[in-house]
Every structure is written in structure tokens, then in C-alpha cells.
């Protein structure tokens, strides 16, 4: 997307000189590696790339990227990044955020950036806990979660991040996780190639305050039966030899079935490009708790004009209609009279 001639870069060009200070074993390392490895493959250059973050463990991310970057304030990264992207549609702007940052204190900015379809690549590191403040429950923590602020268990019903963002008119919605760099790079590449707002939920392990939050889904022993890999245009199947699949019942409900028990024609075919968001929403809701099979990959990828270009287009149209701005004429636009 960069307008400059493509210069070949290497992973090293994208690494800043700052020491990475996440806890040893943190899932954030995996995301940083994937992003730094992906950038050279995208054919973009560091000077036209901006990372904006809010507050939280994940929000230290910009310090480690040798690009332009801003570590801002809690929850506000989508708003600040909107300012960058609207001012400068020529830049690639990435937002790095977490479940507390994006869904709690910054929920308003997230939904509005998505509805406007600002050209932002939003990476939500979901670890279902507040890490930087040392272990309080987050808006994605499960009911009953015992944390420092919920000694008797949380009674808060959590958000399903993907159904929230699909409801916010997001044009690109995907999910990946921190244990599979190849999968993550594929999803991030698709997010990058989407013009407009891209939202990627990354299941990310906090090994200090919420270790193994996603182990029942993405753990190496179980993932074959628990991860549903979405591929556009293909029947949704998973498990060993694809023995399980997803069908839509007559009641409109999605169900996981044994493929052998249904006709192959009954299997749901994934369509990420469908304008109507109902299918993506249903797929996002197929998982009711952390012990159920969960879809990964691109849920939704539809075209809509991005905000920065729409704003810029109005400036161009105004100039074509009125000519370049004439300050002296503006000051006289309400009528004048002369004395002396």
C-alpha cells in the first residue's frame, strides 16, 4: 500500500534497539516475532509504518518496532490512530491493544473506528486478564473467574470480542493465536491486504496471571479436535481427517456434527466475502465456552470505502468546486462595508 518504491528490508530493519521487557514466556513475544518477520514479506518500509498502542502489556509493542510509533493512553489508541490515518492515508497504521484496553476503557473508540472503516490494522491481544496491573479480571474473563479483584469469582458476563466487532460494522474480522506463527502471519497478511479497518483477535497466553487460558483449545494435544480452520469457499470441517463439520439447522442455528452423519451438501461453506454479517456472527458465536471447538482464520472480509480516503475525497471535491482557498475572500464572505 505504500506509495514509495519498494525497498527490500529484512527482519532486522524492523527491530528497534530497545530491550524487550515482557515476562519470560509471555505470548507477546510470539506476536512480535511474527510481525517483524511478516513486514519484509509485505514489501513495506519502516518509515511509512506507524504503530499506535494504548496501555497494557501488549501496548509496549511499538517500542520494539523500528517504525514510527506512539505508546499513548489507556483505551485511546484507536482514536489517536484515527487521527494519524485520516491525516495521512499514505501511511500504514497498526494498532496494538489488549482485552482491557480495547474492550473496557476504550470500547467506544474501538467500535467507532470499525464503523467508520478507518484504515487501521487492529491487533487485539486477548489474554482474558489484566496483566500490567497484576491480575484483575477483564471484560473477556469467564464468569466465576477468581482474581485479585474477584476473590469470590467474577459475576460479570464476558464479551465475545468477535461478535462485538461484527456488530460494530467491521469489514475485516479474524482470529489467530500465539502458538502458530505461520497461521498468525497468514492472518496478519490478510489483515494488511484489506483496505479499511481490520480487526484481529489474537489468543495470547499470560503465563504469569492467567496461564493456559486457551490451553483447552490451542494446546498441542487438543488443537486438532478443537480448532476450526476457516477457509473461504470451502466446507467447514475440522478434526482428524476432517471428521467433524459445521451445519446450519433449519432453525438457523449452527451445529457441530460428525461429517459421516450428514450429507456432504449439508456442510456449511464458509463465505468471508458475504456482505451480510449474519454468517460471520453465527460462526463467532458457535463457541459458548473455552471447552468447545473454536473457529480461527478470517471470519469476514468485505469491501467498503475507507474513512481516510472518503475524507480526503471531500477535500478534493471542494477544491475542484471552489478552487484553492482564498483567505482574503473568506474574511469577506459575509458582506463588508468600507469606511473612509
Amino acid at each position: 500500500m505504500s506509495e514509495t518504491a519498494v525497498r527490500v528490508t529484512t527482519k532486522k530493519d524492523w527491530m528497534s534497539d530497545q530491550e524487550v521487557r515482557w515476562c519470560p514466556g509471555c505470548g507477546d513475544y510470539g506476536v512480535l516475532q511474527a510481525v517483524q518477520q511478516l513486514m519484509p514479506e509485505l514489501g513495506v518500509v519502516p518509515e511509512r509504518t506507524v504503530f499506535v498502542s494504548g496501555i497494557g502489556c501488549s501496548s509496549r509493542f511499538p517500542y520494539y518496532m523500528n517504525t514510527y510509533g506512539m505508546h499513548s493512553i489507556h483505551g485511546r489508541a484507536p482514536a489517536i490512530a484515527t487521527g494519524v490515518a485520516v491525516a495521512r492515508p499514505d501511511l500504514d497504521v497498526w494498532v496494538v491493544t489488549g482485552d482491557g484496553d480495547a474492550l473496557s476503557i476504550g470500547g467506544n473508540h474501538l467500535i467507532h473506528a470499525l464503523r467508520r472503516n478507518v484504515n487501521l490494522k487492529i491487533l487485539l491481544f486477548n489474554n482474558r486478564i489484566y496483566g500490567l496491573t497484576k491480575g484483575q479480571y477483564s471484560p473477556t474473563s469467564e464468569v466465576g473467574k477468581v482474581t485479585k479483584s474477584t476473590p469470590f469469582g467474577s459475576v460479570d458476563h464476558p464479551f465475545n470480542p468477535l461478535s462485538l466487532v461484527i456488530g460494530s460494522e467491521a469489514t475485516f474480522v479474524a482470529r489467530t493465536h500465539d502458538l502458530d506463527r505461520k497461521h498468525m502471519m497468514g492472518v496478519l497478511r490478510a489483515a494488511y491486504e484489506h483496505r479499511g479497518a481490520s480487526f484481529v483477535e489474537i489468543f495470547q497466553n499470560c503465563n504469569v496471571f492467567n496461564d493456559g487460558a486457551f490451553e483447552d483449545i490451542i494446546g498441542k494435544q487438543v488443537r486438532g479436535e478443537m480448532m476450526i480452520d476457516l477457509k473461504h469457499g470451502e466446507p467447514i470441517r475440522f478434526g482428524a481427517d476432517g471428521h467433524k463439520g459445521v451445519v446450519m439447522g433449519g432453525d438457523g442455528q449452527l451445529r457441530i456434527v460428525e461429517v459421516a452423519d450428514v450429507s456432504p451438501d449439508d456442510l456449511l461453506v464458509h463465505d468471508a466475502h458475504r456482505a451480510d454479517p449474519a454468517l460471520a456472527f453465527a460462526l463467532a458465536r458457535i463457541t459458548h465456552d473455552e471447552h468447545q471447538a473454536t473457529p480461527f482464520g478470517v471470519f469476514r472480509d468485505v469491501k467498503r470505502d475507507d474513512y481516510g480516503h472518503l475524507v480526503a475525497a471531500q477535500l478534493v471535491q471542494a477544491s475542484e468546486r471552489k478552487g484553492p482557498g482564498d483567505l482574503a475572500a473568506l474574511l469577506r464572505s459575509n458582506g463588508t462595508w468600507t469606511i473612509g
Binding site: P46, G69, H71, S72, V84, V86, N334, W337
Partner: protein
């Protein structure tokens, strides 16, 4: 536009000024009527000052005192600075308007009422126990009763206008009448009605306007019309401008003068929304406007745009400033240019959204966590909003700092003739972006240090995305001076706090010294800021005309103060500080300069009257 003098039945009496107040129900069109009277007076060449005064409710219950909407205008044949203490004439369209505003009038003032609206039910809604037109309570005024609704209906009926629709034209009857009474040319109003309205509404309004004018001329209710001759103002080309329009144009100008694209992030709030409305019309100047999802986002977008190399603005009022506070602190830490415009209104909380107050000085000065100083500029008259926002932008750009510009509801909505500047004489406020590395690493590699400061201004370089080799990360975490790398060490934090303060303090070298207006050898000095300028100006003039010596200092820069302010103030034995707040500037100058300044405070959602300040100044001579 040609101005023709109307023909009058009697001798026209010349008067040097008049203050007219139009008052009616919120739906009666009093603001439009006032605007038209203003416009025609401006074109006629009077000096003028206006004061729209309306309720927060869009349509409060009809006929109640809470729903009264007023517009006061002071026109004169000489230079004036306020909308006038007390009206000479009140046009009251209903009992509620009469009740709300008649006490403002000068003794013996003229009250023109729409007598059609004084039925029992109307009186009840205004909570009048007896009819004020008959119970003798208005004996100190000259009261003229005119059935404006009936007369308007009668003149519009032949056009096919229904009686109910004719009601909506009665404000033009009132405008016509006042236009006759003060010898206003009719052509501009007729031309405006023809342009603004269509079909039957146009015809109805024109008929009502002409009927009102003719009514004045042909009836015996008034002895003769008055004339306020054009003012002898300095030569120049003038336009009539409100504070909010001047502010919006000033933002456009700042973009041109800095050669930078502008981005305004704003969220609708009274009385600031008109700046967003006005700026959103001027996209061909390279102005981007975003109506954000909330006040916080509006500031965040402006800051993001500033990081990307735009001139970022966010406009709001007090409640919005509170919400933007954390973003302003971030801007202080990031050391990026940003202008926050606070168009103050009565508070706390929702307070008096449509009424003026200047009580956000403390908020501007101290309303951020920790040590987060930033420059503050205050506009003092509607047309000054133009210059003030250019000055705020100049400081923001030169010192890479967020700046707060204070205006208020009175300046925002009030209007006055403005001697237009020659745009070629406006200041160059351009700045430069960093384009190459500014430091060499020990191994000889060129590198970019985002916090390597200009030794004179202490401003840091502004390197915008897209510039090769200057990639850098900035954030709210304390950073090492020079490199900008995260640094929590105790000594570095103190150094950075003191550097940020020194940078703001140093701006005092780059702003004009405070000037004493009036008698420099006086014992008494009036210290003012913001929109009190008009009332102080006329009060100081009145006291000096009475033979007493008074000095006056009016501040445009509130942080830092002009370098000579302390010395100047210590030279007077008495200092009084009139403010539309509880004494905020007064406390600051007492603390900063150890002077025994006295606060003169008014917190009623209204500007000072000149007479109030005359009284306060004279107390210092007793």
C-alpha cells in the same frame, strides 16, 4: 449595496447610541430578528455590539419565562465595546418576555409589546397575577401596545396565508417597526428575506416587514423616528463577525500561515459547535473536520494528526476540557503541537450551557495530573478570536506544545464590526520538520534523537512519519531527555519535569510585554482578561472622564504571564481583578507576585455591566 434613507413623518431625532432588546418565546424568531437588525446596522456603518441570550431548551414550554429568548444590540455613532448595560427599548412579544426582561430597561425606557399575547392564559403561563399592561406596574416606562399578530394576519390574509402560519411572520412585523423607529434602510432586509425564503413564506414575511415599517410611519404612537448616524471608525473594510466565526476563520488562517494541513477533532457541545459547523464548510483550504465519537476521541484525533504532521485542533467547552485532560497530559509529555479551544460556559457540570462564564482558568492552568504546564491564551473580543487562535497556533508550533485558548459564550455568540486585516500582514507561523539524523552514535552511525532540544526554545524536533531514517517511538512513559528512550531514573524524571516547565516559562521572552492603558501614574489598576475587556474598557473610560486616574492592564497571555507583569502590578497601590468567576486570576497573581489584589467577581451567567465596574473602581478611591 445602496443605502437609502427612509422618509419619516416627523423630524428625525439624532441620537448617539441606542440599546435595543428583542425578547420573545424561543420559537418567536427573536435571534433571527436581532441578527437582521445587526446586519442592517453594520451595513449602515454603525459601530455595534450584540448579546444573544437564550435558554438551553430548544423549545421550553411556550409562553413561560424559562422559554424566553432575547437578543440585545447596542448601535452607536462612535466606538463602543459592550452590548450596553441597559436597553432603551424592549420589544416584548409576550408576557413572559416582558416579565423576564423589563427590569433591565433604563427608567423611562420604551416597551413595545405584542398586545395580542396578553390574554388570561398568556398571563397565567408567565405567572402574572394581574395584567401588567393595566395594573400600573409599568408606570416608569413608556409602553406601546400593538396587536402585532392581528396586524400580521390581516396583511397576509389576502396572500392566502392561514392565520396560524401568519403567526410565524410577526417577528418581521416587529423588525419592520424597529427599522422605521431607528431609520434603518429597508433594502438589505428585503433582499435577505427574498433570498432566504421561498413562495408563500417569503411573501408573508415581506408583507409583515413592510406592514411593521408602515405602521410606525402612519400611526401616531411614536412622535418621530430616531437616527443613529454611522460611526466614525478608523478607515478600512469592515465585516460583522461573531467570536465563533472569527475563531473558525482564524484556524483556517493558521493553516495557511503555517503552510500545514489542518485537522479539527470535535464533539458537539454548546457553545462551541458553531466552530465545527463553520470549519466543516472550508475543506478547500485543506481543512479536515471529524465529528468524533466523544470528547476524548476528538482530542486524540487532533493529537494523532499532529504526530502525523498536521496542525491539530480540538474545540469544546468546560465539560469537554475535563474529558480531554488525560490527552492534554499526553500531549505535554509527547511535546507535540496541539490547540485546545475552550469556549467557556457556566458550570460546574452541565451548569448553564447557553450562558457565559469565564471560570475555566483554573482548569486550563491546573487541570491535568502531575506537573503538566502548558501555555494559555485568552481572546478578549469577538474579532480578537481570529488573532488569538493564530497566536495560540504559533506558540504550539514553535514550542511543540499543547496550548489552551480560552474564549467564552459571550464572545462566541456576540458580534461586532471588524476592521479586516490585510492578509499579507498576518504573521508567518511556519515551522520546519526534521529531515535528517541529528546525532551520531558512538560507533559513528547517524541517528535521530526525538528529544534533542533547540537550545533557545527547548522545543524538540518534529519528525513526521514518511521521513526516512527518523523512525522513533514516543509515549507517555517518562523518557530520557535527548534519546527519548524510556527512563525511570529519579534524577532524569526531575530533570524532565523541570525542562517541560522551563520550556513554557521561556515563552515569556517571546510574547509582548503587558501594557498599561489609561493613567500609568494612577494608584488604582484594573487587571482583566478575556471578555471582560468590553465592560472594563467603558468603565475605565467613564471613571477617567470623571477626573480620576485609573490604569488598566488586560492580559491575552495567561501562561506564561508577560515578563513585566509583576513589576507593573507592584507599582500600583490598589489592584482590582474583575472576573466572571470566583476570583481565579486574582488568586494566581496574589500567589505569584505577593500583591494584595482584590477580586471583583460576578457569576450569574451574564457579562459585567459597565456601571457595576465603575462602582467597583470608585470604591478604591474611598
Amino acid at each position: 449595496m445602496t443605502i437609502t434613507s427612509p422618509q419619516a413623518k416627523g423630524e428625525t431625532e439624532a441620537v448617539s447610541y441606542v440599546v435595543v432588546r428583542f425578547a420573545g418565546d424561543s420559537g418567536d424568531g427573536m435571534q433571527v430578528t436581532g441578527d437582521r437588525f445587526t446586519s442592517v446596522s453594520a451595513l449602515f456603518g454603525n459601530d455595534l455590539s450584540t448579546f444573544p441570550d437564550y435558554p438551553a431548551e430548544i423549545r421550553a414550554p411556550a409562553g413561560t419565562v424559562n422559554g424566553v429568548s432575547s437578543f440585545q444590540i447596542h448601535i452607536s455613532d462612535h466606538d463602543i465595546t459592550t452590548p450596553g448595560d441597559a436597553p432603551n427599548v424592549l420589544i416584548a412579544m409576550n408576557p413572559a418576555a416582558l416579565k423576564a426582561d423589563v427590569h433591565l430597561l433604563i427608567p423611562g425606557g420604551l416597551v413595545i409589546v405584542n398586545s395580542d399575547n396578553f390574554e388570561a392564559r398568556d398571563l397565567e403561563k408567565a405567572e402574572y397575577e394581574a395584567n401588567p399592561l393595566t395594573d400600573g406596574s409599568l408606570r416608569n416606562y413608556r409602553v406601546v401596545e400593538i396587536p402585532m399578530t392581528t396586524l400580521t394576519q390581516r396583511v397576509t390574509e389576502p396572500l392566502g396565508v392561514k392565520a396560524r402560519d401568519a403567526e410565524r411572520s410577526k417577528n418581521f412585523f416587529a423588525l419592520g417597526l424597529i427599522s422605521w423607529l431607528y431609520t434603518r434602510p429597508t433594502e438589505p432586509t428585503i433582499a435577505w428575506i427574498e433570498k432566504r425564503f421561498k413562495d408563500l413564506v417569503k411573501d408573508s414575511n415581506l408583507a409583515a416587514f413592510r406592514a411593521g415599517y408602515n405602521f410606525g410611519e402612519t400611526t401616531e404612537l411614536f412622535d418621530h423616528p430616531y437616527e443613529v448616524r454611522p460611526a466614525k471608525l478608523p478607515a478600512g473594510e469592515y465585516t460583522n463577525v461573531s467570536g465563533n466565526t472569527a475563531l473558525a476563520w482564524g484556524i483556517v488562517a493558521a493553516g495557511q500561515l503555517s503552510k500545514l494541513p489542518v485537522l479539527l477533532g470535535s464533539y458537539p457541545i454548546t457553545p462551541a459547535s458553531d466552530v465545527l459547523h463553520e470549519l466543516s464548510k472550508h475543506k478547500h483550504f485543506g481543512v479536515r473536520t471529524v465529528q468524533a465519537e466523544d470528547e476524548i476521541a476528538a482530542a486524540g484525533m487532533a493529537l494523532g494528526a499532529a504526530f502525523a504532521g498536521h496542525l491539530g485542533y480540538t474545540t469544546t467547552s468546560g465539560p469537554g476540557v475535563a474529558l480531554k485532560s488525560e490527552t492534554m497530559s499526553l500531549a505535554v509529555s509527547l511535546e507535540l503541537p496541539l490547540v485546545l479551544v475552550d469556549i467557556q460556559r457556566g458550570g460546574p457540570s452541565t451548569g448553564l450551557p447557553t450562558k457565559t462564564e469565564a471560570a475555566d482558568l483554573n482548569l486550563a492552568m491546573y487541570g491535568r495530573h502531575s506537573e503538566a504546564p502548558l501555555p494559555i491564551v485568552a481572546a478578549y473580543r469577538p474579532s480578537h478570536c481570529f488573532d488569538a487562535v493564530i497566536e495560540a497556533s504559533r506558540i504550539a508550533l514553535k514550542y511543540r506544545t499543547p496550548v489552551i485558548l480560552l474564549s467564552d459564550g459571550y464572545l462566541a455568540n456576540g458580534s461586532e464590526p471588524w476592521n479586516l486585516p490585510d492578509v499579507a500582514t498576518l504573521p508567518d507561523i511556519s515551522t520546519s520538520f526534521a529531515t535528517e539524523p541529528n546525532h551520531t552514535a558512538p560507533d559513528g552511525t547517524p541517528e535521530f534523537w526525538p528529544y534533542l532540544r533547540d537550545p533557545e526554545t527547548l522545543a524538540r524536533p518534529w519528525a513526521i512519519p514518511g521521513t526516512p531514517l527518523l523512525m522513533h517511538r514516543i509515549g507517555g512513559i517518562e523518557k530520557e531527555d535527548g534519546t527519548g528512550n524510556i527512563d525511570y531514573t529519579p534524577a532524569n524524571h526531575e530533570k524532565m519535569v523541570r525542562l517541560r516547565q522551563a520550556k513554557i516559562d521561556g515563552i515569556a521572552r517571546d510574547i509582548p510585554l503587558a501594557e498599561v492603558v489609561g493613567d500609568a501614574d494612577a494608584h488604582v489598576c484594573v487587571l482583566g482578561w478575556g471578555s471582560t475587556w468590553g465592560a472594563i474598557s467603558s468603565a475605565v473610560e467613564l471613571v477617567r472622564e470623571s477626573g480620576k486616574k485609573v490604569a488598566w492592564i488586560h492580559l491575552t497571555h495567561l501562561n506564561p504571564f508577560p515578563a513585566n507583569l509583576g513589576d507593573l502590578l507592584r507599582g500600583f497601590s490598589r489592584v482590582i481583578v474583575p472576573e466572571l468567576n470566583g476570583g481565579q486570576l486574582c488568586r494566581i497573581v496574589r500567589a505569584n507576585y505577593l500583591i494584595d489584589a482584590r477580586s471583583v467577581s460576578k457569576i450569574q451567567g451574564r457579562p459585567f455591566m459597565s456601571a457595576e465596574l465603575v462602582n467597583e473602581i470608585e470604591k478604591e478611591f474611598s
